[in-house]
Amino acid sequence: MSEPAGAVSGSRREPIDRADVEALIVSSYPGLRLLMQRRAGDPQLAADLLNDAVCTTWEKWQAGRIERPEQIAGYVFQVALNLLRNQRRMAGERADLRAPVAALEALPGGLDPVDSSIEDGIARSVKELLAGMASVRDRCVLTRLYLDEEDKESICSALGLTPQQFDKIVHRARGRLRKLLESQGLRSRDFFSMLMVV
């Protein structure tokens, strides 16, 4: 006898609806969702890819190929980022669609009002983070790493930092950002707790 959908051998699985997964990804992972929109250069394309990823992941969950609900988000983003990578490679092979990465990311966001408001809120947190950092050099580390996507070696060389100093700056900034975001109620951990009570 085959197992019911969403069941796994030896234990009963939580019934999880696909729409719930999608809704929770949207509400709990705005950063990754916004990043996909930027990378795709088209919010609708990003939404389609994310939707495909949710479907694929949900099917895996139904088939019992995902062990725990807290792994669902990881699967969704793994699949979504792979789909995006494939999409960009295909675009890269077409001369009429070819554009450098930076140009794609410089496209106007075209975000809907809700996403635009979410991004504004995140920007305010990041602004607070930067303003609270001790030096121009430390702020430059963040912008070069996260915005310009330079490698660690190059940043250390340009700013006269040791790798240890670099790690310390990034670690401190990351901790501060996390506190700022959590103080605003933006916590990805909510995803798991919400899934568990669905």
């Binding site: 950063g31 991004e119 602004k127 303003a131 490698d151 190059s154």
Partner: protein, 229 residues
């Protein structure tokens, strides 16, 4: 979790093997997806600030210090740090850098960032003589130098990094005096670097700009003749 790896994953800079390893960790540990989300939010916020024109002002504004005693403590610590840095520099036979990719790397003896006191463009000219003449200002400070590579393999705006080597020209010999790597071109094709005016003595120089290439690929280099006076 290493933030650099997380950032490289989000930037699609990992090799296939690195990505597979990272994704295994991501699926095994929900904490990693939270780290990813935090990094993604940081990126989104920075992009938004840049788009709104606020980023540069925030990054280059003076730090906010909450209390005078914190400032005093920080000043003490900075003095110690600068002392250690100077000691280490002297130990290595180096002084304040002559060239840097960022102006924030150029500081005076008290550790204060140098003000930009001059801006110069270095590009191929048809005139005989020098491609650029740099006048050293009376006040010590940072000189912004914008170099336009004219190598055909590196059109303006293309992704890539450059290295600049500066050599002082004597009667018969060119003496290397400074190198700065990891420079990124701007949208207009210029590559910007900064020089400390007090570390750049008058004389004739050769500025070479090389496109940093993949291992094994031939490197493209352009050289410019510069006069500093």
């Amino acid at each position: 979790m290493d933030q650099v790896v997380i950032n490289r994953y989000l930037s699609d800079q990992l090799s296939d093997a690195e990505r597979a390893e990272f994704e295994d960790r991501m699926l095994a540990s929900p904490a990693v997806i939270e780290e990813l989300e935090a990094a993604a939010r940081l990126k989104a916020g920075l992009v938004r600030l840049r788009e709104s024109g606020q980023l540069e002002r925030i990054v280059f504004s003076p730090a906010r210090w909450p209390q005078p005693h914190v400032l005093a403590l920080a000043a003490s610590l900075a003095a110690i740090a600068i002392g250690i840095a100077v000691w280490r520099s002297d130990d290595a036979g180096l002084s304040t850098p002559m060239l840097a990719a960022s102006v924030v790397a150029l500081t005076d003896e008290s550790g204060r960032q140098l003000d930009i006191v001059g801006r110069h463009a270095v590009l191929r000219t048809r005139a005989e003589g020098y491609d650029a003449v740099i006048e050293r200002p009376h006040a010590a400070g940072a000189l912004e130098i914008r170099v336009l590579p004219d190598m055909s393999a590196a059109p303006a705006g293309e992704e890539g990094r450059y290295r600049v080597d500066l050599a002082r020209l004597g009667e018969d010999v060119a003496t290397p005096v400074a190198t700065v790597a990891g420079l990124r071109p701007q949208a207009d094709g210029f590559v910007t670097l900064f020089a400390s005016s007090s570390e750049l003595p008058p004389g004739r120089y050769r500025l070479s700009i090389t496109r940093e290439s993949e291992a094994g690929s031939p490197a493209d280099t352009d050289s410019f003749s510069i006069r500093v006076r």
